[in-house]
């Protein structure tokens, strides 16, 4: 092969490569953006994104009120899908140590109900425990992390401060406090000049409140004990006949729903 033929061979090789390259780039773009190209691996499909143009704490965050939920891991083992996350509050909190209001605080928001959609079309729902930083789903055998199409939080709530004044008496022994909480006068025991009254505060599973109770009249002494079904309060009156109506106040936190459905972004963990 002489120099002339060698030059032609090199030029022809480059022309062939360039032509194929041009066609190939176009094909790759088509495949990446074609929503029907589901027969290809998930990683070849540009993930559908509803993310805002800006993030507050982390590019993968989901904002639940003023708290950023950030996925940290996603694993499947023995047909159990487990997603762990962190919660970082954006609320002004001057006076707290730097870094407070993050992983070690009490729950600043409660991402309660989660839904996962997989490529097979199955839908798994799970409820996270209050104060936890993970949620677990039962998934079909053989499901892999790459099969997850979407994750969303369908119910979330936040603990809001409240004070609820109310009155209990023998004739009105149950009071709806609102916010899923109820107060009930369960027992009155008279022993000489001392009267002991037992009051129980309960809240629904859907809206777990954290309420304490005290009597407004300081002549009632209050003893509080917590149980599985709610908080039990013992009021003691030592000054003879107590008033028929017992004025009380419930104070603490109630769970307030945060409206909307929230997408959780796991792309970087899949």
């Amino acid at each position: 092969m002489n120099a002339r033929a060698l030059s032609l061979t090199i030029v022809a090789f480059l022309l062939g490569a360039l032509a194929a390259g041009g066609i190939g780039v176009r094909v790759i773009r088509e495949v990446r953006t074609d929503p029907d190209a589901t027969s290809l691996p998930l990683s070849n499909i540009t993930p559908e994104t509803k993310r805002p143009a800006f993030y507050q704490v982390d590019p993968n965050e989901t904002l639940l009120a003023s708290t950023a939920l950030i996925p940290e891991s996603v694993d499947i083992e023995d047909e159990t899908l487990r997603i762990t996350y962190d919660l970082i509050s954006l609320a002004p909190q001057h006076g707290a140590e730097s870094g407070a209001g993050t992983s070690n605080d009490i729950a600043v928001v409660y991402p309660r109900t989660w839904v996962v959609l997989t490529r097979s079309g199955s839908v798994a729902e799970a409820t996270a425990a209050l104060g936890s930083r993970f949620v677990q789903f039962d998934v079909d055998q053989g499901t892999e992390v790459s099969d997850i199409v979407s994750v969303s939080i369908t119910e979330a709530s936040a603990p809001y401060p409240i004070e609820i004044p109310f009155t209990l008496s023998k004739s009105s022994s149950v009071v709806d406090l609102g916010f899923g909480a109820t107060a009930e006068l369960v027992e009155v025991v008279v022993d000489g000049s001392t009267t002991v009254v037992h009051v129980v505060v309960t809240s629904s599973d859907e809206r777990p409140s954290d309420l304490s109770i005290s009597a407004i009249d300081p002549r009632w002494t209050t003893t509080v004990s917590s149980g599985a079904t709610g908080e039990s309060v013992t009021l003691r009156w030592n000054d003879g006949q107590p008033p028929d109506d017992i004025r009380l106040r419930a104070f603490g936190s109630v769970m307030v729903p945060i409206g909307g459905e929230f997408s959780v972004f796991l792309d970087d963990l899949q």
Binding site: A20, G24, Y55, L90, A91, P92, G178, S214, D268
Partner: protein, 325 residues
């Protein structure tokens, strides 16, 4: 410029004639066409193999995101110096948003959350200090009944504020208007009470000037504890913290302090932890530092009222209560 056919320097006219001479019979070309054509095919095949590999194996989602970052229609998030979506700025650095409106039998509550932009360290920003809230409609305005901040250690309150209104007074077409504190006046009033006047003090009025006053409707004092009920007059809110000291016959002191003091940590004593919210009125218990000890002989009683009253507010900011927006 040289116009000679041979003026192209080193170009050999004989070679040019050989290459472009179409009169030469096929198969007799001196150019080895087969090799360049095969080379072009090989080049195309090599690239095609790479393209197939790229499609089948493919880049990661992260690679895709990075590769597409410059193309229109694909969002690449960036850290934000603006407030989260839906939050309306109520101070230089704090935004607020209505999260929920709850109407229940004891009363109605509007739940508000507060946030700073992601570029701001929340620890550097004091919680939102609101003089009062009101619901404004075309028909008029309704002032708050009370406002609550979640008690507890600083940094764990989540920035949530509950604004309570009397039952049935939350119209669906209203806006929640917030008046942030601009200035306050502090005043401490000491009252010596004869020891025989243990029991209930009523209608104690403290003048704050400018037509404003705090009225203590009821103060119950007893060695085992007490209670205070107060309200403001003049249309502005305040914080009123009562501390009662009982001097016993043996010369020791028993102190009664607001029940919420422990929950709010040192906020009552001027710490910058979690400030108490301002109110138009309040009622709370006084608890003794000698818990349960009621059999004490008292020789003197002194009452200290620490009053912080709002003397000025910022321009109001109206928050939407349309939770669908």
């Amino acid at each position: 410029m040289n116009g000679s056919p041979t003026g192209a320097g080193s170009e050999d006219p004989a070679i040019s004639m050989d290459v472009f001479d179409s009169s030469r019979p096929e198969g007799e070309s001196e150019i080895p066409w087969k090799i360049p054509v095969a080379s072009a095919i090989v080049g195309a095949l090599a690239v095609a193999i790479f393209v197939i590999y790229a499609i089948v194996v493919g880049p990661t989602a992260e690679d895709v995101s990075e590769a597409d970052s410059g193309t229109p229609g694909v969002v690449t998030p960036e850290p934000s110096d603006i407030l989260p979506d839906g939050y309306l700025r109520v101070t230089d650095q704090i935004g607020a948003r209505v999260e929920s409106v709850e109407v229940s039998s004891p009363g109605s509550v509007v739940a508000v959350s507060t946030a700073v932009p992601g570029s701001v360290d929340p620890v550097e920003i004091p919680p939102l200090d609101v003089a009062y809230w009101e619901i404004v409609t075309p028909e008029g305005s309704t002032p708050m009944h009370k406002q609550y901040r979640r008690p507890g250690l600083a940094g764990t309150d989540g920035g949530y504020v509950s604004v309570a209104f009397p039952q049935g007074l939350i119209p669906s077409d209203g806006e929640l208007t917030v008046y942030v504190v601009r200035s306050v006046k502090t005043q401490t009033t000491n009252i010596d009470v004869p020891s025989e006047v243990q029991g209930t003090i009523t209608d104690l009025r403290i003048d704050l000037g400018d037509g404003r006053s705090v009225v203590v409707d009821s103060m119950v004092i007893a060695p085992g504890g007490g209670s205070v009920a107060w309200r403001t007059e003049g249309g502005m809110t305040a914080r009123v913290d009562a501390v009662v000291t009982l001097i016993t016959t043996d010369g020791t002191a028993v102190t009664l302090t607001p029940e919420y003091t422990s929950a709010y940590d040192d906020a009552l004593l001027g710490s910058d932890a979690v400030p108490l919210p301002y109110q138009f009125q309040s009622e709370y218990r006084l608890v003794s530092d000698r818990d349960g000890d009621r059999d004490i002989d008292v020789t003197a009683v002194s009452v200290e009222l620490r009053i912080t009253s709002v003397s000025g507010v910022e321009d109001p900011v109206a928050l939407s209560m349309d939770l669908g927006s």
